[in-house]
């Protein structure tokens, strides 16, 4: 103990004796009625430590108090499936892949920290989601990242983007997980509020599924991993200002955490070893709310009681008080519940990996979470009151009154390129636009091959991983969102994102089975934002019901706004699919010379919310492209079929930028050119740049055209032949309109991101 710590701690005894002491609950973000409820629950004023714990657990971030009433739709509408082994409410959803293997995946946001300190903010976001996956009993096997920044040429983007990419890469690369995909999107709405959503996926034998329950009276509570420091206790430092000496500069405490992927790697290996040895009764990761969350959630989920001796927690910094220790967000820690007979073994095995492991408490049946600090009781609460019984709000909802005006401001009326030269130039301009250009600047900073099971990663439509070398069984995941569509119509915009991720997975030949989502919105206290939120959640829930795939978990991020300006409502959807044999996966590309290029789906005149409207006119208005989920299901079934019968050589989902961009990307992925003849009677501009959903560009091997057409007709999926792949041209040849060489395409498409950053 340093001399600075000579204050009497605010124990339960002290709290009972000083019922009227004023407490800074408002500074900690608690409303008056919330504070009163805490006093009711406890029958006295909370101690400082208790107040810290309630303020954390009842915050929006931990309690989902504004979103809960809406998220219940997911559980209500989720289709029944035997695959779902663990669902919403767990650290991450778990789905069965086959009789032996299960997969767990989840996406989470780390938006605000990534704005303050881009590298470490993004890095710790990746670290956090990996621990969620580990806590389910799975070996994390890949990560993905969905990133949104302000304008590509804005000076602050040059600060934020390289840092975020460095952070995502640094953490994932060092911990040894391949990055298999994601998104990089630019839009001024994210200026000052970048979105950094990280996804991780893990694999486990089904029988290894872990629980977060602190069950078994007398079981030991063990803290594993890094020491506890003053990381991220910004909010709670309010409590400290009263008790710190003059020189204890509470203000300088950072709310920034630094990640240590090396320790995370050791945590992973060590936990997996403990799971396999059957030594773990319960486990919970320490995430945003540190020990507070882990203790209360495990206790609430288990036999109801726990006793902790807080002074046993290994500390990194001197002079930390009980509430600091409870609130610290130090990274790379896990809480284990272990049979006392195994405690010694667990500690030994952890030490072998060079990890700190400390017994800090025991499971009880007292129904109370009791925390002592040097013999004084600083916390004595019913754990469920922290973990499960936080406030729930039904926030006011109001449809924005400019809806009708926005809807009639249609992009279909904007001026379009005239003549073939302008059309040709538009293809190039679009390929060079920040949202469509080559992402290599980002993705080559990520390891994509470690583990040796990555079958597809960027730039393919979905990441594909082999799970079993013997059977070839694997999974595909895609992560997609479209803030502009959701801004125009949050219900259909959310469904669009769902449909796109679903289609991306199907395009690789996999069958979609489960969904995770990250909902990035402005302030829930704004009724318009709440309206957007409600509409988006309903859209996803309805969509998943229709598609027959459950939402297994996700994350809500509110308060993404600068002043009164909220970001575009941005639901980011992750869809997971299974593929029986990854050798049948379908890449992006052009197959072999002489193969047929064809388009599945229907193209309508749908330009509102499109990349073209934005890139060419900075326009956002109208009604976004219609979503037809029944069609998406037929399309997915068709693609899976064509993949398994090897009747398809390559495929690429059409999304932002439409057919034009899909062709450009397919050409850039191959060494061939494309000879394209548009169907008679269509408007070439519309056909190239419309963003109608439900479309996929496919490449059919020679001799399979008839069979493929038959399969399409059988399922009622429209197919339109567009041309052939060709080794005599190397670029895009649009018959009767224009030619673009590979060099010209590459010159437009490559290097744009670096250029925006001033390189």
């Amino acid at each position: 103990m340093t001399s600075r710590f000579n204050v009497v701690v605010d124990s339960v005894g002290v709290a009972s004796a000083t019922p009227d002491e004023k407490q800074p609950y408002a500074e900690l973000g608690l409303k008056e009625d919330e504070y009163e409820r805490i006093r009711d629950v406890l029958g006295r004023r909370p101690t400082q430590s208790e107040l810290a714990m309630y303020s954390i657990m009842w915050s929006e971030h931990c309690s989902y108090k504004s979103s809960k009433v809406h998220l219940r739709q997911f559980a209500r509408k989720n289709p029944k499936t035997d695959r779902l082994l663990a669902g919403i409410g767990e650290n991450a959803g778990v789905v069965a892949v086959d009789d032996e293997i299960a997969v767990t995946f989840k996406v989470e946001s780390h938006n605000h920290p990534s704005y303050v300190e881009p590298k470490q903010g993004a890095a710790t976001g990746v670290g956090g989601i990996i621990r969620d996956i580990l806590a389910m009993g799975a070996r994390p096997v890949a990560v993905m990242d969905s990133l949104r920044f302000g304008d590509a040429d804005h000076p602050d983007t040059a600060r934020v983007l390289p840092g975020v990419v460095d952070g995502v890469g640094h953490y994932g690369n060092c911990v040894g997980l391949p990055n298999i995909g994601g998104e990089t999107v630019f839009d001024p709405s994210y200026q000052g509020n970048p979105l950094v959503n990280a996804l991780s996926v893990g694999i486990m034998p089904r029988r290894r599924l872990q629980s977060m329950q602190a069950s078994g009276v007398g079981n030991a509570v063990i803290l594993l991993g890094a020491k506890t420091g003053r990381d991220g206790i910004g909010g709670v430092s309010v409590l400290a200002s009263a008790t710190f000496d003059e020189d204890g500069d509470a203000d300088s405490r950072p709310s920034v955490q630094v990640g240590d992927p090396f320790t995370e790697k050791l945590l992973i290996e060590s936990c997996l070893e403990l799971f396999d040895a059957g030594l773990v009764v319960g486990i919970q990761d320490l995430g945003g709310a540190g020990l507070t969350c882990a203790l209360s959630e495990t206790a609430a989920a288990g036999d109801g009681g726990m006793h902790v001796d807080l002074e046993r927690v290994p500390l990194r910094a001197a002079g930390m008080e009980p509430h600091d220790i409870l609130a610290s967000e130090s990274q790379e820690r896990m809480l284990l519940i272990v049979d006392p007979a195994h405690a010694e073994t667990v500690l030994k095995r952890a030490h072998r990996w060079g990890l700190l492991a400390t017994e800090i408490g025991t499971v009880t049946d007292s129904g109370r979470l009791v925390v002592d600090y040097h013999g004084q009781t600083v916390v004595d609460v019913p754990p469920a009151s922290l973990a499960d019984e936080g406030p729930v709000y039904e926030r006011p909802i109001a449809e924005p009154n400019d809806r009708a005006l926005v809807a009639v401001d249609r992009a279909e009326t904007l001026s379009r390129p005239s003549g073939d030269d302008e059309l040709r130039q538009t293809v190039l301009d679009m390929a060079a636009s920040p949202n469509l250009c080559d992402r290599t600047w980002v993705t080559e900073q990520y390891d994509s091959s470690v583990f040796g099971n990555t079958v597809l990663a960027a730039p393919h439509d979905a990441g594909v991983l082999r799970l079993d070398e013997r059977t070839g069984v694997g999974i595909a995941i895609s992560l997609d969102g479209n803030g502009r569509y959701a801004r125009l119509d949050p219900y259909s915009g959310a469904q669009s994102a769902l449909a796109e991720a679903y289609r991306n997975v199907a395009t690789t030949g996999a069958t979609p089975i489960a969904v995770t989502d990250c909902l990035n919105f402005g302030s829930p206290e704004d009724p318009h934002v709440m309206w957007q939120f409600e509409r988006a959640v309903t859209g996803i829930a309805d969509g998943c019901e229709r598609l027959g795939i459950p939402v297994t978990g996700g994350n809500v991020s509110f308060y993404n706004q600068t002043g009164r300006e909220a970001v575009h409502p941005t639901p980011v959807i992750g869809v997971l699919g299974v593929i029986d044999d990854v050798r049948g996966r379908i890449p992006v590309g052009l197959g072999e010379a002489g193969d047929t290029i064809a388009l599945l789906g229907t193209t309508a005149e749908e330009l509102s919310g499109s990349e073209w409207a934005w890139a060419a006119h900075r326009h956002l208005g109208g009604v976004p492209p219609k979503v037809d989920l029944d069609h998406e299901m037929k399309l997915a079934e068709l693609l899976a079929r064509l993949a398994s019968t090897e009747q398809i050589a390559a495929a690429h989902d059409l999304s932002e930028g439409g057919l034009s961009q899909a062709l450009v990307e397919a050409i850039m992925r191959s060494e061939l050119g494309a000879q394209v003849l548009l169907p008679e009677g269509v408007d070439p501009f519309t056909y190239l740049f419309s963003e109608s959903t439900g479309r996929v560009l496919i490449v059919i091997p020679r001799g399979q055209e008839v069979a493929v057409r038959g399969a399409c007709e059988q399922r009622g999926v429209p197919i339109t032949p567009l041309g052939v792949t060709d080794s005599s041209t190397d670029g895009l040849h649009l018959r009767d309109h224009f030619d673009i060489t590979r060099d010209d395409l590459a010159a437009a498409w490559k290097g744009r991101i670096g250029a925006g950053l001033g390189e």
């Binding site: 460095d166 060092c174 040894g176 090396f262 050791l266 990520y446 091959s449 470690v450 040796g452 082999r466």
Partner: protein
């Protein structure tokens, strides 16, 4: 490019035991073991803190971030129990291959000359690296034709090979530059991707042969030649 390794050499079960060291923070140890297995030999895992070589016939130090690599890549791994044994055995001819972080460990341990520093462009970069096999006179390259072109994934932030001019000249003239980049991804001096010791039993390189062993997951299958080489070496005796 594929086919540098004759088919019959690939699957020959030699019964050879190839050790793969796991340091805390090793990442490509499983992949190295897979490459050994696919080449028909038996991978044997070696633990950093155990002074035991388990009668292996050769050793691979895999990629990763040993001990976090926070100070300098490979700086701490060098002091592990198993490295002491490996260093001694290497001096009496044990074939040792260091890939990426493993290469850094070999340089830090002074089993190979030079050092690996931050990429000239200052970023981690992951892309397939085209290289020329400059010499087939090492334990780990004898299955390649001299001058053969191979493609292995390169993925590192600190892979720029540096050494003083005299050392570089010495490496060149003694034929100890083993792999040379055709498209230098990191600013390495003289495009050096890999080097060997005087005896040719210790080889280090930055790009990852163990990630080029299956058409499904790698840019090529050229990496199979590395293990095939050491198996041939073990079968037929030292080349030098």
């Amino acid at each position: 490019m594929s086919g540098v390794v004759p088919e019959e050499r690939r699957d020959r079960g030699t019964g050879a035991r190839v050790g793969v060291v796991t340091f805390p923070g090793s990442l490509d140890d499983r992949d190295a073991a897979r490459a050994v297995r696919l080449s028909g030999a038996e991978p044997v895992s070696l633990w950093h803190d155990e002074a035991a070589l388990r009668s292996v016939d050769a050793v691979i130090l895999p990629g990763g971030f040993s001990y976090g690599d926070y100070l300098r890549c490979g700086a701490i791994a060098r002091f592990s129990e198993v490295m002491g044994l490996i260093a001694d055995a290497a001096k009496s001819g044990l074939p040792v291959l260091g890939v990426c972080n493993g290469f850094q460990v070999l340089c830090e341990s002074h089993l190979l000359p030079g050092a690996l520093v931050r990429n000239a462009h200052l970023r981690y970069r992951n892309r397939p690296a085209r290289m020329r096999v400059e010499t087939a006179k090492t334990a780990w390259t004898r299955a390649y034709g001299e001058g053969a072109e191979v493609v292995f994934p390169a993925k590192h932030g600190e892979g720029r090979y540096v050494a003083d001019e005299a050392t570089l000249d010495e490496l060149e003239s003694a034929g100890r530059v083993v792999f040379r980049y055709l498209d230098n991804p990191n600013g390495a001096m003289r495009d050096i991707a890999g080097v060997c010791n005087e005896a040719g039993n210790v080889v280090g390189l930055m790009p990852h042969p163990e990630h080029a062993v299956e058409a499904l997951t790698g840019p090529s299958t050229d990496g199979l030649g590395v293990v095939a080489s050491v198996l041939a070496h073990l079968n037929e005796g030292a080349v030098r």
